[in-house]
Symmetry: C2
Subunit: 240 residues, 2 copies
């Protein structure tokens, strides 16, 4: 049996060494000793209820956050009050990478369910990265990947229709759940349809219609927030 990553709760101590997420989180590629050092950096591991904010747009930036369990959405808000969802964050993923330059959060992050995170004070993380080459490299890699992913998303928004966008998103979640040792074909989306739609630049009504179309085609089964992918191939063809 393949190694499994327990996505909820097996990292109860303020250390990375015994955290089941260490293979997909920041410590990836660090050796034992360095993982220990990194773990000692963590000062707080706040737990948030559904709807609670990890930070708000405009807040001062002090730390990066690694999701330990649960999930978050990031979003910006316009003057007129509308929201734009910029991303969803699953266990092992880093939040606030966009806040480093201005030393201020350009958007908010809110828990989509009961969620706990590891707080990584950024100045200390920087100091540590200067001492541990592998950590520096990993930080740069994660940020580089975030840039590549965002640019991919730009392409999706610019050139794909509603069906293709949803197919791409479903496959993205599938892959991310799989990496975390969960099923890649059956999972629970913790966010509302309207959040998914907002992220994809589509109205909630359109989301609903596309979900229906996919079900009518027999490609997925969706009951509320539970989703089952019945034909990954069909979705992949749409996404191609």
């Amino acid at each position: 049996m393949r190694d499994r990553v327990d996505p909820s709760g097996s990292c109860r101590t303020k250390t990375c060494s015994r955290c089941s997420l260490s293979r997909i989180c920041l410590p990836v590629s660090l050796d034992e000793a360095d993982i220990g050092t990194l773990g000692r950096l963590i000062e707080h591991q706040p737990t948030l209820r559904r709807g609670e904010a990890l930070f708000n747009e405009g807040d001062g930036f002090r730390a990066l956050y690694a999701v330990r369990a649960g999930s978050l959405k990031s979003f910006t808000t316009t003057a007129s009050g509308e929201q734009q969802v910029t991303g969803f964050h699953l266990p092992g993923e880093l939040v606030a990478l966009n806040a480093i330059n201005r030393w201020e959060h350009p958007g908010s992050a809110v828990a989509l369910e009961t969620t706990s995170v590891c707080e990584l004070p950024f100045e200390k993380l920087e100091d540590l990265a200067a001492d541990i080459p592998d950590l520096q490299r990993q930080l740069l890699r994660l940020m580089s990947q975030e840039i590549a992913d965002d640019q991919d998303m730009l392409f999706t928004m610019a050139r794909r229709n509603a069906d293709e966008r949803l197919a791409i998103l479903l496959l993205s979640f599938s892959e991310r759940f799989r990496q975390r040792g969960l099923s890649g074909t059956r999972f629970r989306l913790s966010m509302a349809r309207s959040d998914l739609g907002n992220y994809l630049g589509l109205a909630p009504e359109t989301m609903s219609r596309v979900f229906r179309r996919f079900q009518d085609q027999g490609w997925i089964r969706a009951e509320g927030r539970e989703v089952e992918l019945l034909s990954v191939e069909a979705l992949a063809e749409l996404a191609a």
Copy 2:
């Protein structure tokens, strides 16, 4: 008189110390000595003609590039041959930040006019960043800003109509030219309308129509690739 950055040609030597772009490029916030060290990293300063590629999608990643003079566009290509422009790069800006993780370029970069760049071998840059805390910080800041900018662009694509998109783009260029000591109200766009449109997720015909609308409103004057902003206020209001 304000300091001016000569955007073309005043950095003829393989050093950052005497480069007029050092105040907006990677060396920002480094001291004299460190700037010298950084400059010694530069091995090549290739010059590209219009249409020549700096690198192609799928090429191995070895170095970051800083634009010295001229301009580039980044883009990805689909299986079916269509292009998606992911960015335009002006002097002082870094190219290939999206290639670090996979050690491979996820897109191509092509010169929009005669363009020269400084090649920064990445592994050496990493080593140097570990020695020079300010350099490490600057690298992380630049990448963080790129993430924030891309996410901003995502918002633009998801929620803005054609007029608003063009207004936002024109103001972005205006600001970037201004930072480089050039006029923020009169400048030459080195890329085709179709590239601008592609970047904004709009058809070339739509670009043409929006340009016309802006001119009819008296907000801009456009003759070919020369653009003059007549009412920054009107554009800013659209972009708000």
